[in-house]
Symmetry: C2
Subunit: 487 residues, 2 copies
Amino acid sequence: MSSTGTANTRIPVTLIPGDGIGPECVGSARRILEAAGAPIEWEECQAGAEVFKRGLPSGVPPETMDSITRTRVALKGPLETPVGFGEKSANVTLRKLFETYANVRPVREMPGVKTPYSGRGVDLVIVRENVEDLYAGIEYAQTPGVAECLKLISVKGCEKIARFAFEYARSEGRASVACATKANIMKMTEGTLKRVFEEVAPDYPDIESWHVIIDNCAHQLVKRPEQFGVIVTTNMNGDIISDLSSALIGGLGYAPSANIGNEIAIFEAVHGSAPKYAGKDVINPTAVILSAVMMLRYLELFEQADAIEHAIGVTLESGVLTGDVMGYDKGTPTTVYTDAIISNLGKRSETWTVREHTPLKLPKLAPEADYVRPATRAVVGLDVFIESPFSATELGASLMELTADTKLSLKMVSSRGTKVFPPTGAITDTLDHWRARFIIRENPGDLPDDDVHELLQRISSRHRWMHIEKLQEFDGELGFTRDQGEN
Amino acid sequence: MSSTGTANTRIPVTLIPGDGIGPECVGSARRILEAAGAPIEWEECQAGAEVFKRGLPSGVPPETMDSITRTRVALKGPLETPVGFGEKSANVTLRKLFETYANVRPVREMPGVKTPYSGRGVDLVIVRENVEDLYAGIEYAQTPGVAECLKLISVKGCEKIARFAFEYARSEGRASVACATKANIMKMTEGTLKRVFEEVAPDYPDIESWHVIIDNCAHQLVKRPEQFGVIVTTNMNGDIISDLSSALIGGLGYAPSANIGNEIAIFEAVHGSAPKYAGKDVINPTAVILSAVMMLRYLELFEQADAIEHAIGVTLESGVLTGDVMGYDKGTPTTVYTDAIISNLGKRSETWTVREHTPLKLPKLAPEADYVRPATRAVVGLDVFIESPFSATELGASLMELTADTKLSLKMVSSRGTKVFPPTGAITDTLDHWRARFIIRENPGDLPDDDVHELLQRISSRHRWMHIEKLQEFDGELGFTRDQGEN
């Protein structure tokens, strides 16, 4: 976060117009920020479709990376990932390469924009973890017919996002933070965010906090969204509930976002590049303008941010609305809408309250890689994932025979989380994908790798395996879950 | 599916009253079904809190399992999993042990129940895959500070649920099936459902079909829910969007569900056991009654199902509403509401259209375990997950040295899906959890397990690993994803 926002020094910001309607949205925001007297020095850079077509598979050229590394702040339009040019989305690339771990998505009822929720004062912020979880995109075809994706969640990542959510709430004077997870089903991964959130909460006694199961959170967001202030959640859950929430207030045309890390912040609308509306002067630039307002506050240019927010409020109250809400034949053109906001700078909205903001304090955590240090630890067994056309009983018998004289004994075989050997009487439609769980036969202790290698060689002699997980204990607690039917 | 629903033979059904408000809901449904003349022989069985307290960790006693195995159909109330008694939810246990792979959640605007969506005719069904995905609950503490959950998706599981969704749409005369996935981020797991859905769709030319990204689906469900007929989706996504959807029509009091497998079907309300309302004659039993209506249709007792649906419509139209919508001080008591429905049997609702139903055909897939058979396959490398306090550069150098004279060479080291060695210039907050990717140095072909064992022994000599994945190719296609920054 920069604190150099005085009238004399201009703050450098990387500006990425982006694809499709991006240049119109970003152009509108830039004109408004300049008219509001925000002391910004724009560095215009490229990313997206044109860059992919030049043959760069990331969609982000080195000069854009350099600019962001230097300015540490970017305002960007939507980027396209043209089919057949890039494997990864350029939007995701930017977020990941700069470790912008917090995705911030404010959702607030706009004056004059009619929705089924109008008049209820929806005003919430989704804080979504932006780096970990299924979004790491680590996938394997484990058998020809079974694929796996790894959901990875770290204590450190959870502490960063939980503290960030509380700090963000404080910076906006918000009264509450809810944590939304699926900890009841995924006790170790989703459960980590719940546990860390509850550990961190007492550091913020001024803010009310509670946990809500993610599916109930989605239900409550539709039923009574006004109950929420800030909601913090994991990456994939956050993806779904933030898009859900933006529909409560009139759609993506009013959905700004920020991707904030401890080094770099990127501000952007949530919507896509909508090529069919590009260049027609019909699109709603409010989402990018509101993203720019978030950026001004991040830069501690509070006065200009407040002025623009009021001007947007006055403009919408006066019934000046774009085609996305009015119909594209009747909407105010983008440029006219922008002019209206500029002409309303200095006026104060009657109905729209601008929150009082204070500088956002980013959480600084200890830099150690081994952030969590258990007093005791041990390897107590091994899960081996096997591809086999055998039945559960045949496979179980074969594995028992193969490993009879090793240090490890077969505890069970399971199929997608349900124990099938020894048989339980369950009706399970098994595939050729099995998990065999081995535990130390006697004298539990730390299993040496030599015994692991021995076991693998035995299994390899007769079966095809593709995945192994060591079963560990940390501070005497099991570091693995039991299966359905396993005792 | 049974077809023995004639007037002379009674169909045996397992009845589980459940916990909290369960017995009142189930009792209401039972009275209504009996009054409607449904030829059912109830076998009342236990499951839930009392069973956990008797010391059975599954919450489901053998006699209940036996009854369901025999009757193949169950109607159940909500079950509690008391804290400290059971590790797994008894609700989930029943679904998993009987391979009820399809969770069906109809969501329809009810007459007289006011919501922000009233009058728009919301009438959709979420078909959620019920067995696979993150819900298998397979988790590992991989390092003291990093946890992993496995998301497993099979081609066969996807084909079953995709075909089920189309068959279900047909049985209700619905015009469309949308498939909601996150295939753009998880191409192998979520992508499997999208691909299989698109392969299966041409078998149902009478039904319109399309794919929608899950976050956009959540957005559209709030913005324009009336556009959807049937939505088919994976387990975790389905959990969130089905609870989202039930809020569109007045909440969980009106949310029935079915868990259907090829052998067994379990019908239940979505809501919990709400102990604070138990025994007070104030709760809304409609969700269980509507679940029982779904059960009647599954049993092909269409006439009784239609009669009850009409009677519910007439009752709600007449303004007889329970405490969940009226306020618990003003609502119609559960028993009075039930009496009203019974007294309205035989009347036809003016505003509520009962769909014409035909028998549901369950998809029968080939029973082979190796459901997908590639013509060619090969192991081309290995991902080894390592716990290390080293920096990325130190770890990378050490691994290169250790494996210099093996068949495999280090391609990269990554941290939660982002490549960090060889360095890319990205800002990545690394942990002590790394993934090292090794590929066959030359002459790509099928890597023998001996070389895998050799590599592991080398790594074990200096580093702590906890997870291995073989990198495979099937029919010449990569069976693994590339990381952010990996080319």
